[in-house]
Amino acid sequence: MSASPVSQVFSPSNNGVSVFRRKKEKRGITFSMMLVGASGTGKTTFANNLLESTIFPHRYQQDVPASTNNENVKIIQPTKVVTFNSMNGIPSYMSAFDPASPFLEPGITVTSTALEITTKSSEDIDSATPEKINFFLTDTLGLGENLNNGICFDEIASYLEQQFDSVLAEETRIKRNPRFQDTRVHVALYFIEPTGHGLRELDVEIMKRLSRYTNVLPIVARADSFTPDELTRFKKRIMEDIDRFNVPIYKFEVDENEDDLETIEENKALARLQPFAIICADQRDNATGKYYREYPWGKIDIDNENISDLKLLKRVLFGSHLQEFKDTTQNLLYENYRAEKLASVPAWDIENNEVIDTSINDENNEGNSSGLMKGLTRNSTAPSLSNFASLINTGKFKSQQSLAIPPQSETPSTPRLTGVDEGDESRASISASSQKSTPANIQTSPERTKLRNISENIPYMLQHERIVARKQKLEELEAQSAKELQKRIQELERKAIELKMKEKLLRQNSHSQSQESIQTNTTKQNSTSGGAYIKKEETYNDLASIISKKE
C-alpha cells in the first residue's frame, strides 16, 4: 500500500508536469512504453485506465471499435502488429474467441500504437499552449499462454534490440534522415501474476532480457487478489527474488551529491514501494469519470492510493520520471549497447577488411537509395493482408521479407554487420553470409591463419545450416497458414452462397405459397423456373423436395 511519505512528496504543487515545461520542444516529447506480462494480468485494462479512455480492446473483443472518449488523447496511428511468432503463422492479435480452437497456442504478438497526449498544466498559467507527448505504447500478447513459452522472450528481446539497432544505423549514417523515428522503448512494465508465492522462471528470464534494452518496472498486477497483509508479504518476496536472481530492474536510486533533497526523498520513497501494486478496472462512473471495480461485497475505487499504486504510477510515468527513463535509456542502456557493438567489430574486421568492404558494396548496389529507409522501417513491416493475398496467389511474398525472420542484410552500413557474437543466431547468419570471403582469404594468408580460419568458420557454417533449416520451417508455416486462410475464405464464401440460396429459397417459398392460394396449377412451373437461377445441385434438390412435399 502506498506509504504516506510518497503522497506528501507528490503534493499538487509539485505535480510532475513541470518536466514538460523544462523540456519543452516544438514537436513535443516522445515517450515509449511497453507492457509485458502473462495474458489476463490486466495490461489492456491498465493501458485504458492510464489514458482514461477505451482505446484498447480486450482479448477476443477485437470487433469493439476503439474510442478515445478523452479529448486529451488522440490516436495517431491505430494499433498494428510489429512483430510476432506463432505456430500457425497468424498473429493471435487478430483471432476471435473460438471454443473449438483455443488449444492452438497463440505464440507471441507485439503490437504498437502511436498516440498523442495533450497535457494541460493547470498551475502553469504562463504557457497557454498545451504540452504534447508523442506516446508509443507497445503491448505483448500471448505470453504464458503457450505450452512452451521459450519463443516469447526471444521475440520480445529481439524487437527491443532492433529498435536500438535502427538508432545505431541512423547515427552512423552520413546523411541523416530528417524523419527518423526513434522507437526505442523507454520503460517496460512487467506485470507479475498475483500468485502469492514469488517469481517464476518465466518472470525472471523475461525481466532479465528486457532490462538489457529498457528500464524494467515490475508491477504486481490485479493487486485486489491480496489482502493488505498478503500484499506486503508478496511484495517483499518479489524484491527478495529480484535480488536473489540478480534481475536488473529499474531501481529508484539517488545520487546524494547531485540530486536535490526533494528528489532524494521522492526516490527513496518510491524504492521502498517497489514493486508497485495496481488495481485496474473496466467499469466507469459516467458522472465522475472514475473507474471502479464492483463486487457483491464491496466497491474498489482504483484511484484510492491506500489500495492501489495506479495513480502514483501514472505520475511516475508521465511526470516525475519520464525524462529520467528516457535519459537512462539513452545514456546508460543504449550507450552500453553501442559500445559493445562497436567493440565487437575489430577482431573480425581487420583481417577481412577488404572482403567486407566489397560485400557492403554489393549490398549497396542491390539495395537502391531507399535501402536506407528500408533498413529503418523493416521492424514495422507487419504481415499485411496483401502479403497473405500475394502468398495465396503466387506462393510467395510480395516483399522478399519473410514473416518471422527480420531481414538482416538491410542495414549494410551498420557496424553490426561485422559484429560477431556466437550466442546470437541472427547475427551469426550475417557472418555466415560473408563466408564467401573466406576462400579468398585463405589464398592470401599465411599457412597458420589458414588453419585457424577453417576452424573458426566451421561453427558458423553449422549455424548457418541451422538458420537455413529454421527459415525453411518458417516458410512452410507461412505457406500452411496461407492455405488455412484460404480455406477459411472459401468456407466463408460457401456460407455466403448458402445464405443467399436460403434467402432465395425463402422468398420463393413465400412467393409460391401466395401463388398457390391463387392459382395452384402454375406453382410448379413457377418455382422450377425460379430454380434455374440456382446453380448448385444440392439446393436444387432441396427445392424440389420442398415443392413435392407441398403438393
Binding site: 480486450h58 488449444f103 512452451n148 508465492h197 471495480r293 466497491k299
Partner: protein
C-alpha cells in the same frame, strides 16, 4: 481433528453410509492447477483445518532455485462426525505450470492416476482379494486461473487427459477477483470450450425417475453453476453480526467463503462430501477403473500372441506392471533426444574440423616433401656441379 460445523458426511442416507463404509470409507481427492491458485488453501478450507501449510508460511522460495518439476504430496486425514469416519486422502500437486516449457508437465499427474488404478488391479488379482492400499482418485479438482479470458492450451491438454481417467471437476480459483459480470462471461466461455473440446467433466446424475424433487432441483443447481467459482481462506472474521465466518478480509469488504452470493464453495463442498460422494466413488469404480482395466487387459492380450481365453485371469496371464521409469516420461525422453542430437552434432562438427585440419596438414606435408625434393634435387645438381668442376680442375 475437530470440526465446529458438520461437513455433512454424517447426513448421508443410511444405505449410502453402508456402501461407503463397505468401500472402506475412503475418499481420494486430487487437486491440480497452476501454482499459486490457492489449491492448498482450498484443501484447508474444505476440511477446516490446516492439513498442510500453504507455501506462503513456509517461505519455500527462499531456498534453492526455482523449482522445475511437479511434485506430488499425499495428505491423509480422517473426518469424524457422529461416529462416522471417512478416510480422506488429498493429493496436492504443487509446481504445476511453473516452468517456461510446460509441455508434458501433466504427465506426472496422469501417471499418478494410472498408477493407482494399476496398483489396485494387481492387488485385486491376488488370490486373496483384500485390497489394502487404495489410492484411486475419486475426484480431480482442476483449478482455472481467473483471467476472464478463457482456458489456456495447458489447461485444455491437461483436462482432456484427466477426464478420461477420473472424475474431473473444473473450478475457477480465486473467484473473489472477478466481478459478477466477469464471472458470468468467464463461466460461459469455459463451458463452451469444455463442450467444444469434448472434455468430459463430472456432472451430478439427473435421475428423472427419482421421486425426490428436492434432490433433483439441487442437482440441477449444481450443474448450472459449473464450473464452480471458489474462494479459499484459512482465517475467520466477524461478519458484522457477531458470528465468525471463514472469509477473506479486504479493505473494501469481506468475502465470505460460505456465502452463496459470494462464491460457489458450499455447492462444491456439498457435491464432494455430501450429495455426490457416492456417485464419485462408484463412477470411479464402475467407469474409470473398469475402463483402465479393460484397456490394460486388451493391450496385454493383443501384445502376446498365444493367449488363453479373454476373461481368464490365470497367474501366467498376469498383467505386467508398466515400467514407468524416468526414461518413460516423454518429457525426459524429448530432452534426452535433444541432448543426444546436440551431442552428435557437436561431434560431427568437431570431426569435420579435424578432417579439414588433417587435410591441411597432409597438404602441407606434401608441399614440404615437394620442397624437400626440390632442395635435394638442387643439392644433387650442386654436387654434380662440384664434381664437374673438380674434374675440370684436374
Amino acid at each position: 481433528m475437530t470440526t465446529e460445523e458438520f461437513v455433512g458426511i454424517s447426513n448421508l442416507p443410511n444405505q449410502i453410509y453402508k456402501l461407503v463404509s463397505k468401500q472402506g470409507g475412503v475418499f481420494t481427492l486430487l487437486t491440480c492447477g497452476e501454482s499459486g491458485l490457492g489449491k492448498t488453501t482450498f484443501i484447508n478450507t474444505l476440511f477446516q483445518a490446516t492439513l498442510k501449510p500453504s507455501d506462503s508460511h513456509t517461505g519455500r522460495s527462499m531456498q534453492g532455485p526455482i523449482r522445475k518439476t511437479v511434485e506430488i504430496d499425499i495428505l491423509r486425514a480422517e473426518l469424524e462426525e457422529k461416529n462416522f469416519t471417512l478416510k480422506v486422502n488429498v493429493i496436492d500437486t504443487p509446481g504445476f505450470g511453473d516452468n517456461i516449457n510446460n509441455d508434458k508437465s501433466w504427465q506426472q499427474i496422469i501417471d499418478f492416476i494410472d498408477d493407482q488404478h494399476d496398483s489396485y488391479m494387481r492387488q485385486e488379482q491376488q488370490p486373496y482379494r483384500d485390497v489394502k492400499f487404495d489410492l484411486r482418485v475419486h475426484a480431480v479438482l482442476y483449478f482455472i486461473r481467473p483471467t476472464g479470458h478463457g482456458l489456456k492450451p495447458l489447461d485444455i491438454e491437461t483436462m482432456k487427459r484427466i477426464s478420461t481417467r477420473a472424475n474431473l471437476i473444473p473450478v475457477i480459483a480465486k473467484a473473489d477477483t472477478l466481478t459478477s459480470q466477469e464471472l458470468q462471461d468467464f463461466k460461459l466461455r469455459i463451458r463452451q470450450v469444455i463442450e467444444a473440446q469434448e472434455i468430459r467433466i463430472f456432472t451430478p446424475p439427473l435421475n428423472e425417475t427419482q421421486d425426490d424433487a428436492a434432490a433433483m432441483e439441487h442437482a440441477r443447481q449444481l450443474i448450472e453453476s459449473m464450473p464452480f467459482a471458489i474462494v479459499g481462506s484459512e482465517e475467520q472474521f466477524d461478519n458484522g453480526s457477531g458470528t465468525k465466518v471463514v472469509a477473506r478480509k479486504y479493505p473494501w469488504g469481506l468475502v465470505e467463503v460460505e456465502n452463496d452470493q459470494h462464491c460457489d464453495f458450499r455447492k462444491l463442498r456439498s457435491l464432494l462430501l455430501r450429495t455426490n460422494l457416492l456417485d464419485l466413488v462408484l463412477s470411479t469404480q464402475e467407469l474409470h477403473y473398469e475402463t483402465y482395466r479393460r484397456l490394460r487387459l486388451e493391450s496385454h492380450l493383443n501384445g502376446s500372441s498365444n493367449d488363453n481365453e479373454l476373461g481368464e485371469k490365470s497367474a501366467n496371464n498376469f498383467v505386467a506392471a508398466p515400467a514407468r521409469k524416468l526414461s518413460h516420461n516423454p518429457k525426459f525422453k524429448e530432452e534426452e533426444n535433444a541432448l543426444k542430437k546436440y551431442f552428435t552434432d557437436q561431434v560431427k562438427a568437431e570431426e569435420q574440423r579435424f578432417r579439414q585440419w588433417e587435410q591441411n596438414i597432409v597438404n602441407e606435408r606434401i608441399k614440404l616433401n615437394g620442397d624437400l625434393e626440390k632442395i635435394q634435387a638442387e643439392v644433387k645438381k650442386l654436387e654434380d656441379q662440384v664434381a664437374t668442376l673438380k674434374l675440370r680442375k684436374r
